[in-house]
């Protein structure tokens, strides 16, 4: 069923009986050519592109809960390609381009909204760092503008310019950045994959990876053994646990990232704004809630929840930047388990086990990567060669020293 104004009208007249399931409730088959572990955005996008771009037809996505129950279903929806390191920029820019065509590709409104992403700076050193980053983006053909204080004042007059502990000096603006409706991305890819024959199997937790003579043969799951010639891991926050099933140790720690949403209000904040002197970023959802967050919890966690100090810190940042937020109420806060790497950048690579491919290390920033991650992971799994834009996202970069450390924090996961 194609979605359009027309079909919507038809549905309205026929009492909605016309709408079929968005994806089938597939039961697992005994074996597949490709099994993707993890029904988040990345797993579903990978399956979709494997089917659409590489002609695979016998694919399953195995999800331990319901699709989108991981970070895909709980992120703050920011998409951008304003990276600094040459290992990252082309990849995230590919993602941005895919976002720009995603809705017509999927025939699903994922509400990609290029409302602009502004990162503020508060010192000369920060300005220089953003200039370096903006220039790197421009050299890669990505849009970037460096605003001075006057530029920020006219772009976002409601910020606190006059009483700030760390005065705003300017910002790096990517106008093509913005937000997308996170759940819709999951559902859109699921629908797209499903229509191309991908089996989406929910409530199917992978509990083991069967390896025969150094090569994968399938996965043990809570719904029985499922054979597979190739297995792709896209389990984000659970990367270490699943990789351990194949005997791998990863340069990853799992940490909670919290986010918050306020009660709905009429349009107040048009774009996405990130504070440069504290941990705080914000945007407004189409429903009206201000969606905001900040730093990860410093300790390892799989609990999918965080603690009060980070919430306080985030709100302190919010009040420092936008004192008009004071009386708006936090309606809900939540947490997700982030796969933090030792250099803060992701990994899309083969593993030492034949037929086992790894996609993870998305830290707190993998939503924006969803389309490109699926695209590049599908490319890697189909061709056994890295996609050109993801060639730097290797697993061995820690051993060789070719790390992609955007902020220069070094090998401590919770500092990225």
């Amino acid at each position: 069923m194609r979605y359009s104004f027309l079909s919507l009208a038809r549905g309205a007249l026929q009492g909605h009986s016309i709408w079929p399931r968005v994806w089938r409730d597939a039961a697992p088959k005994p074996a597949y050519d490709v099994v993707i572990v993890g029904g988040g955005g990345h797993g579903l996008a990978t399956a979709y592109y494997l089917a659409k771009e590489h002609g695979f037809s016998n694919i399953a996505v195995l999800e331990k809960g319901w699709i989108g129950s991981g970070n895909a279903g709980r992120n703050t929806t920011i998409i951008r390609s304003n990276y600094r390191e040459p290992g990252n920029i082309p990849f995230y820019e590919l993602s941005m381009k895919l976002w720009e065509g995603l809705e017509s590709d999927l025939n699903y409104n994922t509400m990609v909204s290029q409302r602009g992403v502004l990162n503020l700076y508060h010192s000369d050193a920060q300005r220089d760092a953003y200039a370096r980053r903006g220039n790197a983006m421009r050299i890669h053909g990505v849009d970037a503008e460096l605003l001075d204080e006057a530029g920020v004042r006219s772009y976002a007059p409601y910020l606190d310019f006059d009483n700030a502990r760390f005065p705003i000096r300017g910002g790096l603006l990517q106008r093509r950045g913005g937000t997308a409706r996170h759940d819709a991305v999951v559902w859109g890819y699921a629908r797209g994959g499903d229509r191309r024959g991908v089996d989406i199997v929910q409530n199917c937790e992978v509990t083991g990876i069967r390896i025969v003579r150094g090569a994968v043969s399938g996965v043990e799951t809570t719904r029985g053994f499922i054979g597979a010639r190739k297995i792709g891991l896209a389990v984000a926050g659970n990367s270490s646990r699943v990789a351990a099933m194949a005997g791998l140790r990863l340069p990853i720690e799992s940490h909670t990232l919290q986010a918050m949403v306020t009660e709905g209000i009429k349009p107040l904040i048009p774009g996405v704004i990130t504070f440069g002197a504290g941990h705080f970023y914000i945007s407004q959802s189409d429903k009206g809630g201000l969606v905001f967050g900040g730093d990860i919890e410093a300790y390892n966690s799989y609990a999918q929840r965080g603690n009060l100090p980070v919430i306080e810190e985030v709100c302190e940042g919010g009040m420092a930047l936008m004192p008009m937020l004071g009386r708006l109420r936090v309606l809900r806060s939540w947490g997700g388990v982030c796969d933090m790497t030792m250099d803060g950048s992701p990994i899309i690579d083969r593993t030492p086990v034949d037929g086992l491919y790894f996609n993870g290390g998305w830290c707190y920033g993998g939503f924006k990567a969803t389309p490109a991650s699926g695209w590049c992971f599908a490319h890697l799994m189909a061709t056994d060669r890295p996609h050109e834009t993801a060639a730097a996202l290797r697993l061995d970069r820690f051993a060789t020293g070719r790390v992609i450390d955007e902020n220069g924090q070094g090998a401590q996961a919770n500092l990225h």
Partner: protein, 987 residues
């Protein structure tokens, strides 16, 4: 209407207020909602999607409908639940989400378009053309969505945070909470009792129960008095415990919200962080709705809310009522309505029978009783006027009423029990979710765990209280549970009427209907979480407290599953919404973060310094003079003064670490790339430390004051991290070493005295017995001296500027005086203070790396410091610095740059390309890290990281800075622009 008597309001204290501009009057003890009801106001707001007219559904924080904009101007609070607003004199509130007015709202047309606007309709359309989304569709949706309007102005009120500790925290002061508190108090425990309401008593305030022969509210007041007599008990009204976190609870005290404006010196709200050894959750239960057509019309209320308005507020929400109930306590409303002078036209109960006395009571007030019946539709545009009911055999009856009480059963308030991850479980007994397995430090009592009758709630509160006292190590006290009559709690799970009718809501605020649930099921969004995310069920400001479970029950029926098997709804903090300002407390504006000032701060201020933030420090950036046009002129003058005469600069912010112990030298050898154990006493040495991953972490000068005593300096920015790193190296890696360290940053006030005349200046400061001649006190000497006639100080001959220079440190109490003394002594020599900017110019002229180069991505070799890397010892980072990519000779290395056109201004952050190479990522060969206008060279100069930079001196390259429109040629040169042989250091 206000009843003639009754209620807990104070009829002697009338209060005037306005709603949508019209004046009304209420009484002390009213909420805004009860006062509106007492004034006959029924239409209070508009719903989210269809903009349907809405009234007041409940009497508590579970309210989905009666949202208002409270107060005006900068104090405007959108989405405020009228049911939780304590009335005060002069209160102003306005309806929201309507245009142009509450009674005529253009977007109510959405209601007509409802067939198009079903759950998730937007995912299926608005896709073409792509650019129309941001420009057209999205702005439309955004404007239509949202509820109230933010003020858009800085919040003028103050917020506070506070900490509290207790043995037992009790949440909720209903009968269960009060009994638990009494038990704990009598056992001598330290008790905190938090109640979100402004009166203690919970449902006792809302019902006409008697306890031990006294009205419930009076009993509660008596108990409150007894509790207050215990010194260990703290009672906190107007305080919601809104979250359970690891080891602490978060609560919000609404200190001044019941007043027009906070009194002087008082915050608006206070965020409490409560550490309790044990917590008793006694939060009661919330009555839920039933899905039927038009169940959202103003005048439709939960039956318990009707009783609350009648009994607590003396307000009757209508003239002619009907009751639609599937619980026995719904029937109890009849007596209360009768007492309020409200006619009860009918009682509709889907069950086939209830206890006889309930029936006879209904009949005694003239109500028609309809068993096995259901309300299928409510009618009335701006408020219910009529209801249609269907009875067994399909009979349809119409009943006139302007008030419909609905009782669909009770949901225990279990939110707080789930925050730490415990999963609720479904109870068939009460047809509701009850708390699952809890941590050992948390108990639940009363209606919050399904002990619904008053008798049970009292007994449960008492027994939980006693058990908790014992568990926390206190003696079990004597406690009688007061006598009360029995109370009906029978009910029958009943979720929706059949037929369900149009606009049968399961989420009133977000306009989610039973039809939407059906559609979600059909499209595969069946899991509770998919249902929620697809339809927005339970995502409104009430978090679905009255309706979400109805939708879940519908979904269970549609999918043929048992409740709870396709997902359990997850509550998240905060239990009730909390203002962002409260989480921030006083950390906003200039108080966002503490600031740190050096001892010379006031002196610098007097010198006219402009300050800049470096971490938390404020440092003098430059010292402008009236005659100077701009900062560049000032900074150039300051730098030139250092090169030609003498300048002084406050460098107290550098991290200083006192390191002692027999193995101090050996320890330093392991943390620095170079050797310190051989440093002679009385000498200083520049050191570089790496992180274990081989990249540079920090640099600084470390002096040896005695055999077993070193004094380290770090960069200002990294001081904390270095201290932590050193402690790690000692305590974790090498605990065998005899070394002790402690930060001494704050003890010493330290000034750089730099320039060819610095020795002359010092001669006027340092006491005569100290030889500070070039020979007697050569470059890198570091000793204790006395100055100004006996004041102990430390003198270092070190230089960041490349000039003859010193750093002089005194105990911080003399920091201010020393700056003044240095200025005085230097006056004849032309001394000037200089700030961080001139400091930066001077160091760039000398090619010294600083923050922009020590960016965490550079190796010692990148910075030209590889010769310092000792090969004779192990040190942190040595091994991984040998990784192929770190040892790659192609890496960008520290290089100097001058513009080919000497007038060109350089800017840090520009990227570097071969002169004729195309601008492309592959050709990117580095970037400018730091730039300065060099007064010595009379041109802009720069440092940067350029691929194979050191072998490219003389080459002309291109600097590309598109974000600032820069594109110019540079000459590659040595990073040392001034005095390349370093002769000036030694004069």
């Amino acid at each position: 209407m206000r009843t003639a008597s009754g209620g807990l309001i104070d009829r002697n204290v009338p209060l005037n207020f306005r709603f949508d501009g019209r004046p009304y009057r209420g009484f002390a003890g009213d909420t805004l909602a009860s006062a509106l009801i007492a004034n006959g106001v029924r239409l209070v707001g508009r719903s989210f999607k269809y903009h349907r007219p809405r009234g007041i559904l409940t009497a508590g924080p579970e309210e989905p409908n009666a949202l208002v904009e409270l107060r005006n101007g900068a104090r405007r609070e959108p989405n405020t639940k009228a049911t939780t607003v304590e009335l005060y004199e002069g209160l102003e509130a306005a309806s929201q989400n309507r245009w142009p007015s509450l009674s005529f709202d253009v977007l109510a047309l959405n209601g007509l378009a409802a067939p198009f606007l079903h759950a998730g309709f937007y995912y299926k359309t608005f896709m073409w053309p792509a650019s129309f989304w941001e420009k057209l569709y999205e702005p439309l949706i955004r404007r239509a969505a949202g509820l109230g309007r933010a003020s858009g102005e800085p919040d003028p009120d103050r917020y506070e945070k506070a900490h509290a500790f207790c043995d037992v925290l009790i949440v909720g002061a209903g009968p269960a909470g009060l009994m638990a508190a009494l038990a704990a108090a009598r056992s001598d425990a330290r008790v905190i009792l938090c109640e979100q309401d402004f009166v203690l008593g919970g449902r006792l305030l809302a019902e006409h129960f008697e306890i031990g022969g006294k009205p419930g509210a009076i009993w509660a007041r008596g108990l409150e008095t007894e509790l207050r007599s215990f010194p260990g008990v703290t009672i906190m009204p107007r305080t919601s415990v809104f979250a359970a976190y690891d080891g602490e609870y978060a609560a919000l005290e609404r200190v001044s919200d019941h007043l027009a404006m906070p009194p002087p010196f008082m915050p608006r709200q206070r965020l409490w962080k409560i550490v309790a050894r044990h917590c008793v959750i006694a939060t009661g239960a919330v009555e839920r709705i039933i899905a039927f057509g038009g169940n959202d019309r103003p005048g439709i209320m939960t039956a318990s809310a009707i009783r609350t308005y009648r009994n607590r507020f003396g307000a009757a929400p209508g003239k002619q009522a009907a009751i639609f109930t599937t619980t026995d306590d719904g029937w109890r409303s009849i007596a209360d309505l009768r007492d309020a002078g409200v006619r009860v036209a009918a009682v509709v109960d889907p069950r086939s029978e209830v206890r006889k006395d309930l029936v006879s009571q209904a009949q005694s007030v003239g109500a028609n009783v309809h068993f096995g019946s259901q309300v299928v539709q409510a009618h009335g545009a701006h408020g219910v006027k009529r209801i249609t009911i269907s009875s067994p055999g399909g009979a349809i009856t119409t009943i006139d009423c302007d008030l419909l009480g609905v009782s669909g059963g009770w949901n225990p308030n279990i939110g707080l029990t789930t925050h730490l991850g415990a999963k609720p479980i479904w109870s068939d007994g009460i047809s509701a979710f009850i708390p699952g397995e809890l941590s050992r430090a948390m108990s639940v009592a009363g209606a919050a765990r399904g002990k619904f009758s008053l008798r049970d709630a009292l007994a449960d509160g008492a027994s939980v209280g006693l058990a908790v006292s014992e568990a926390t190590g206190f003696a079990r006290p004597l406690l009688d549970v007061p006598r009360v009559g029995d109370e009906d709690t029978n009910m029958w799970p009943f979720w929706r009427s059949t037929p369900t009718g149009k606009f049968a809501f399961v989420d009133l605020q977000n306009d989610v209907t039973a039809e939407d649930v059906q559609l979600a099921a059909q499209e595969g969004f069946q899991n509770t979480e998919h249902l929620k995310r697809y339809t927005t069920l339970g995502m409104a400001t009430d978090q679905g407290k009255t309706g979400a479970v109805v939708a879940q029950a519908l979904m269970a029926a549609l999918t043929g599953t048992a409740m709870g098997t396709i997902g359990v709804p997850r509550a998240r903090p905060p239990e009730t919404p909390v203002a962002i300002g409260a989480f921030a407390g006083h950390h906003r504006g200039k108080s966002f973060r503490p600031y740190r000032l050096t001892a010379g701060h006031r002196w610098a201020e007097e010198q006219g310094a402009i300050f800049t933030e470096v971490g938390q420090w404020l440092r003098a950036q430059w010292f402008p003079r009236a005659s100077e046009r701009d900062w560049l002129e000032t900074v150039s003058r300051e730098a030139a003064t250092v090169r030609s005469a003498v300048g002084i600069c406050d460098v107290s912010t550098l991290g200083k670490i006192d390191i002692q112990g027999a193995d101090a030298g050996a320890f330093l050898d392991r943390v620095y790339i170079n050797v310190f154990s051989t440093l002679p006493v009385g000498k200083a040495r520049y050191g570089v430390m790496l992180r274990e991953d081989g990249f540079v972490m920090d640099d600084g000068t470390t002096s040896r004051l005695a055999d077993d005593h070193y004094f380290m300096t770090t960069t200002t920015a990294n001081a904390g991290r270095v201290m932590q790193h050193l402690e790690f190296c000692h305590q974790v890696l090498w605990p065998d070493l005899d070394v002790q360290m402690i930060s001494a940053t704050e003890q010493w006030s330290q000034y750089a005295i730099a320039g060819p005349r610095s020795r002359e200046l010092l001669r006027g400061i340092v006491d005569g017995q100290f030889d500070i001649s070039n020979a007697g006190f050569p470059f890198l000497a570091a000793v204790a001296v006395t100055i100004c006639g006996g004041q102990p100080a430390r003198l270092f001959r070190i230089s960041f500027s490349g000039e003859l220079a010193y750093e002089l440190a005194v105990p911080a109490r003399y920091g201010d005086a020393l700056a003044r003394a240095l200025m005085e002594a230097g006056a004849p020599l032309g001394v000037a203070p200089y700030g961080t900017e001139a400091l930066s110019v001077l160091r760039i002229e000398k090619g010294h790396a600083a923050g922009n180069e020590l960016n965490g991505q550079t190796t010692a070799a990148d910075l030209g410091l590889n010769r310092m890397m000792s090969t004779r010892k192990d040190y942190v980072g040595r091994v991984l610095a040998e990784r192929p990519a770190l040892a790659d000779p192609d890496r960008p290395a520290l290089t100097g740059f001058k513009p080919v056109d000497r007038k060109t201004r350089l800017r840090a952050g520009a990227h570097l390309f071969q002169q004729r190479a195309a601008i492309s990522p592959e050709n990117d060969s580095g970037h400018l890290t730091s730039v300065a206008f060099s007064p010595a060279l009379e041109t802009w100069i720069g440092l940067g990281l350029l691929k194979r930079g050191s072998s490219r001196v003389g080459e002309i390259i291109r600097a590309y800075d598109p974000v600032r429109g820069g594109d110019y040629l540079l000459e590659v040169c040595s990073p040392v622009f001034v005095d390349p042989k370093g002769e000036r250091l030694h004069v």
